[in-house]
Symmetry: C2
Subunit: 190 residues, 2 copies
Amino acid sequence: MNHRILYPFADFGDAVVVQPGREAVRNAPRHPESDRDGDDALVTYFELARVMERASRRFSGLLRTELTKLGVDDIGSAQAMVLLAIGDAELSVGELLDRGHYVGSNVSYYLKQLADGDYIDRIASQRDKRSARIRLSEKGKQLCKSLREAAKSYERALSHGEQDRRNLETAFQTLHRLEMVWGSAARYGI
Amino acid sequence: MNHRILYPFADFGDAVVVQPGREAVRNAPRHPESDRDGDDALVTYFELARVMERASRRFSGLLRTELTKLGVDDIGSAQAMVLLAIGDAELSVGELLDRGHYVGSNVSYYLKQLADGDYIDRIASQRDKRSARIRLSEKGKQLCKSLREAAKSYERALSHGEQDRRNLETAFQTLHRLEMVWGSAARYGI
DNA sequence: GAATTTACTTCAAAACTTGAAGTAAATTTC
DNA sequence: GAAATTTACTTCAAGTTTTGAAGTAAATTC
């Protein structure tokens, strides 16, 4: 898998094509440089949102498959994501909330299942008895490890070289930025 | 399933992600150069998946808000996304399925609601009576237009220099690539 | 022309998400 | 120092979305 992201999005099927898509066949590489100012940016945020959705769906699928392979059937991909979000840290629910930008009741729901399945330990904080501290149990760590292990084989399938890594980084940063902007937009209007 | 290789898989958890105590503080992109050889990339795919999830959630939130503002209450953000996915095209359900990598029954469900709300027209194909052709109705187009309109104001909130555009493009390409790899991984194992 | 395949739909059961309300501990206020 | 408020969650009861296993009817293949 070569890839230095040729700029004008060479080879991906429905890649950058924007709404106007005459559907189905869209190989003719439209050229960026031309329509620069009109309504349609090359890649609109809608498209980015859509590709995120699709990719996320795929990722969950993979996770689910992996879980099944590992014989885990008491938690789903969403819970596994929470597990991965916790990582090595020991944190309070609130911190986890921040970390994943989840909704409170949502995380409670996940944590309950994770606790029921013994994937995490909850320790009541000494200083503040309202606040539970959370961390992965041995079982949880093991699962995370297996998942990461499994992920590596996928990673090998695409991350090759400096350029790819940089792209990954860029993607991450960009999404992170979007996340923030969209988040504050939601909170403060505009 | 209990191997007991306790690994100090130290630095995975949240590699690049800022420990987001307060969202405000975002360190400048940490720079790669150093830890290059191990198998932990700076940004792992898990993290990318997580940020995608979060950003998607935010985006749906925005969409939902926008819909509410527009007085639309018979469809949700997911349905709106389908609308946007259809765009200007007239396509069959199967093509739409491809386009969004949705699951069949899922799209059926959405389309039903969209049809009930008169956001789309279904035309039975003449050549193949099994296949329904789908396109936005006037009302649907109108809604998409409004949504895109609204999106523009958000777009303005992100600076729109050349660099940003490139980053957006890179992000898009990267995700698209992931989508494909993860997709085929799901289908053909590994 | 029977069997199979394609292109969807439907249904019911999960899974997930939300918002409002609740609880109990900590903090502030008076 | 007790009442009021706030924080840090959890629970509950709706929703909404997603899945998977049928189903249906038209097109294809044999």
